[in-house]
């Protein structure tokens, strides 16, 4: 392939299609981290929740032989895990950070344990006939050249994610609930003093956090791939947490940062076509995140010094 082909591959409809495809789990991971930190609870178990949901989507759809029920089981798993963080930290006084670490390490091993129980394999669920969710062709739009190629024909959960992004935006910026949730994270005392039910807001935010991470997990095994393999989330949860750390409470910034990370992830796919060591190429998204965090920190420090 020539140099021109290489450059062109970044401006093709296919590349943008890939960007969207890889962005979905990252966006959901970012949302999960964002929702949890919104009320000041924090969730560093995004990775673990996604991983458990990945497996439960596979197992659930295999047991019920229904993609929809499999999805529901995955969602229940994710929400349950997020609520565990809430319960252990809010009611029982544990550090949310420690509960998060426990859940992450637990998920990493327990998924392998379950996998072995049901497939006799410690690597992947390839032998298990699980269901996947359908792809959706958007009528009319799919026939538009270029645009149709990019936005049509994605998995169902991609469009669910887009709808969720819009709903969350409306909630955060247009409803009293969003305003109150934000207030809880920004100044809990102040929120309490005007009679906001802080406990309820924290519960809700963890519920949203679990839900989004679970959808992210289900997407990984019911669309992005059709089987579960060990540690397949591969740091996406952490990338989401990094994006949230950079964006802070700014929702739009969260989406922009996540999309930038998604582009890095998509670039990997292009480079893999070339004769380069794949191990090196696979580090691109992570190096991208690292650079992003460094640039952000330097900029923030500079700004802080000026003030």
């Amino acid at each position: 392939m020539s140099w021109a082909d290489f450059v062109n591959s970044f401006f093709s409809a296919n590349f943008l299609y890939v960007v969207i495809r890889v962005s979905v789990p990252l966006l959901l991971a970012s949302l999960s981290a964002y929702m949890a930190s919104l009320t000041g609870v924090g969730n560093i178990a995004v990775e673990g929740i996604m991983l458990m949901s990945c497996l439960m989507a596979v197992l659930g759809s295999y047991w019920t032989q229904s993609a929809a029920l499999g999805l529901l089981i995955a969602l229940a798993t994710g929400i349950g895990m997020a609520l565990m963080i809430y319960m252990f930290s809010m009611s029982l006084g544990a550090q949310p950070l420690l509960v998060g670490i426990a859940l992450n390490t637990f998920a990493s091993s327990f998924t392998v344990f379950l996998l072995y129980q049901f497939t006799n394999s410690k690597g992947s669920s390839g032998t298990l006939p699980s269901k996947v969710l359908p792809t959706v062709d958007i009528p009319l739009i799919k026939d538009i050249p270029f645009l149709g190629e990019i936005v049509s024909g994605h998995y169902l959960l991609t469009y669910v994610t887009v709808i969720l992004l819009i709903l969350f935006y409306i909630m955060l910026y247009k409803t009293p609930m969003g305003m109150q949730m934000k207030a809880c994270g920004l100044n809990e005392q102040a929120a309490r003093s005007v009679g906001i039910n802080v406990t309820k807001m924290k519960l809700l935010s963890m519920l949203f956090s679990g839900l989004t991470a679970a959808i992210g997990g289900a997407y990984m095994t019911m669309g992005y791939a059709s089987i579960f393999s060990k540690d397949m989330v591969a740091g996406r949860g952490w990338i989401g947490i990094a994006a949230q750390g950079i964006a802070g409470i700014n929702y739009v910034a969260l989406l922009v940062v996540t999309m930038i990370f998604s582009v890095f992830q998509a670039i990997t796919n292009v480079f893999l076509l070339y004769d380069l060591p794949s191990e090196l190429i696979n580090t691109i998204p992570y190096v991208g995140v690292l650079l992003g965090v460094i640039f952000y920190s330097v900029a923030a420090t500079k700004k802080h010094r000026q003030v």
Binding site: I170, K174, T175, P176, M177, M179, Q180, K182, A183, L186, N187, Q189, A190, A191, R192, S193, V194, G195, I196, I249
Partner: protein, 535 residues
């Protein structure tokens, strides 16, 4: 103490309609046995400005928290508009029409004024969406109606302290508060802002609001209120008409205490007198408020200089400036003739400064560390305790046991966590440690605050012993009696300035000092202030 009986309003029963809020025999005992309020009986009239005055720790804030539903009384009843009520949370108090402006603002910097006001009670459209248009319109109307002159689309972070307070008041008005509680509202304001606040409070009175004004600034209280309730040690000392009680009477009721200790026989004359600690022109400004204004004084060897004052008049900031815990502010400090202004804390201590901090749990000790570790933390580098890079633990142990013995710290062994000791014993460890550095100058900040009488007396004796050995001691305390009993000279601080200076221990007078502490009296510079500073 006796007062003309006409001042004290007997607990006369009036018709219910007269009072909007009545407190009957309110007691508040915390779980740890601390009695915050005892037998409080106060009735508030509709449309009055009613001040609650008293020193820090007199139980004012606890009482307000009870009224606002944040705390529940241990016993006693509360009648609101003639009906007995019990608020189990602030939301219930808010719904009933009680609003509170907290001393520390409950605001979110990134929210706009309108958002801050409506938070928790948002106007809605189509049931689920916030109606921002109505929010801005209604809050702006409210602000204009009371002549608050605030642009509600501004962010909280862009506002001045005074404006933030206005927002807090608007929050209560937006929720249709009939009673507005203001917790030390003027402590953060500039004189101009205070003036404006008073105008507004008078206006609220005219519109039928009842104002509960908490303060320890008597001048303000006398000026603004219709009636005053005085609190001391958790007990209400009666309610008085503001125009019928003089500042003197108020001050006396607030600070009156019984004398317990007398240490004069322990004092020895110290022959050589020189300036040990010299403080020149220390000024400090925070958020536009002048906290310290050109404070100068000197502590001589072999004397205890007391700084008296109601908390919050700049004493703790002064100490923090001298010890280097905060490094902004202007002015210079010298110990034994050596300028230590720009030294770090370690070098300041090396120059002969020692410090007993006010907060023994936060600043004085490391709670999770052992008594030994806390005890040697100021002199662990001493030669006889070290060999090369290692601590000689036997020597350390002997040293610590000697100090535990000398300062009669009650403990099982020196390896115990320090936070398992009682307050008095923790403080003894702190005092022992500072004492052991053989300081030229010791700054003792509320050294016996909140500890038992026995330990307090012991610590006082140690301070005098240190003084007799020739050290200069700066004692900062809000307790008049402590200052009177211990000190050779006394300075009184009020609003960041030295308001009075007293040189002769035999003429120290509790009531006189009280008047200075509360800002009722002030020495002019030519009379005493300057004299004190240029020793």
């Amino acid at each position: 103490m006796h007062f003309p009986p006409e001042y004290k309003q007997r607990k006369e029963r009036r018709l219910l309609g007269d009072y909007i809020l009545e407190l009957n025999q309110i007691d508040k005992v915390y779980g740890n046995g601390v009695v915050a309020n005892r037998d409080i009986n106060i009735s508030f009239r509709k449309g009055e400005i009613h001040s609650i005055v008293g020193e820090n720790g007199a139980g004012k804030s606890t009482l307000m928290k009870i009224i606002f539903g944040i705390e529940q009384p241990s016993s006693g009843t509360m009648k609101y508009k003639g009906r007995e009520v019990r608020f189990s949370g602030s939301q219930e108090a808010i719904n009933a029409g009680i609003g509170m402006v907290h001393q520390h603002f409950m605001l979110i910097p990134s929210y706009t004024v309108a958002d801050s006001i409506i938070l928790g009670n948002e106007p809605r459209k189509m049931k689920i969406f916030t109606d921002y248009k109505t929010a801005v319109k209604r809050t702006q109307e409210l602000s204009d109606q009371y002549q608050f002159d605030i642009d509600v689309t501004k962010k909280i972070s862009e506002l001045s302290v005074g404006e933030k307070q206005k927002v807090e008041i608007l929050k209560t008005l937006y929720r249709n508060a009939e009673i507005i509680i203001l917790d030390e509202p003027t402590s953060v304001l500039t004189p101009q802002e205070t003036e404006l606040l008073f105008q507004q409070l008078t206006h609220f009175k005219e519109t039928g609001h009842t104002i509960l004004f908490i303060s320890h600034k008597l001048n303000e209280v006398k000026r603004i209120s219709d009636r005053v309730t005085i609190m001391r040690n958790g007990v209400d000392k009666g309610t008085y008409d503001a125009d019928k009680i003089s500042l003197d009477e108020m001050a006396r009721l607030i600070v009156g205490r019984e004398v317990v200790e007398d240490y004069s026989h322990l004092r020895k004359e110290v022959s050589e007198k020189k300036n040990i600690l010299e403080v020149k022109d220390i000024s400090l400004e925070q958020n536009g408020v002048q906290i310290l204004d050109k404070v100068s004084f000197a502590v001589k060897s072999g004397e205890i200089l007391g700084i008296a004052g109601v908390q919050g008049n700049g004493q703790s900031e002064l100490v923090r400036c001298i010890t280097g815990l905060i490094d902004y502010g202007t002015g210079t400090t010298a110990v034994d003739g050596k300028d230590i202004t720009y030294l770090n804390i370690y070098d300041k201590r090396k120059s002969g400064l020692a410090y007993i901090p006010e907060d023994r749990m936060e600043d004085g000790t490391a709670g999770a560390a052992s008594i030994t570790d806390n005890m040697i933390s100021t002199f662990y580098e001493r030669e006889d305790l070290n060999k090369g890079p290692f601590l000689l633990l036997n020597n350390v142990q002997n040293e610590v046991e000697m100090l535990i013995d000398k300062f009669s710290v009650k403990t099982k062994n020196a390896k115990q966590r320090i936070d398992s000791l009682s307050g008095g014993n923790i403080q003894k460890v702190v005092v022992a440690r500072e004492y052991r550095t053989e300081p030229k100058c010791l700054i003792a900040e509320q050294p016996v605050h909140g500890i038992d009488i026995g330990s307090a007396e012991f610590i006082h004796t140690q301070l005098i012993e240190l003084r007799n050995q020739g050290a200069g001691i700066l004692l900062v305390s809000a307790d008049i009696n402590e200052v009177i009993n211990l000190c050779d000279r006394i300075l009184v601080m009020y609003e960041g300035k030295i308001a009075g200076c007293f040189d002769d221990p035999s003429k120290f007078d509790e009531k006189e000092l009280g008047l200075y502490m509360l800002g009722v009296k002030k020495q002019e510079e030519e009379q005493g202030g300057v004299h004190c500073e240029q020793v």
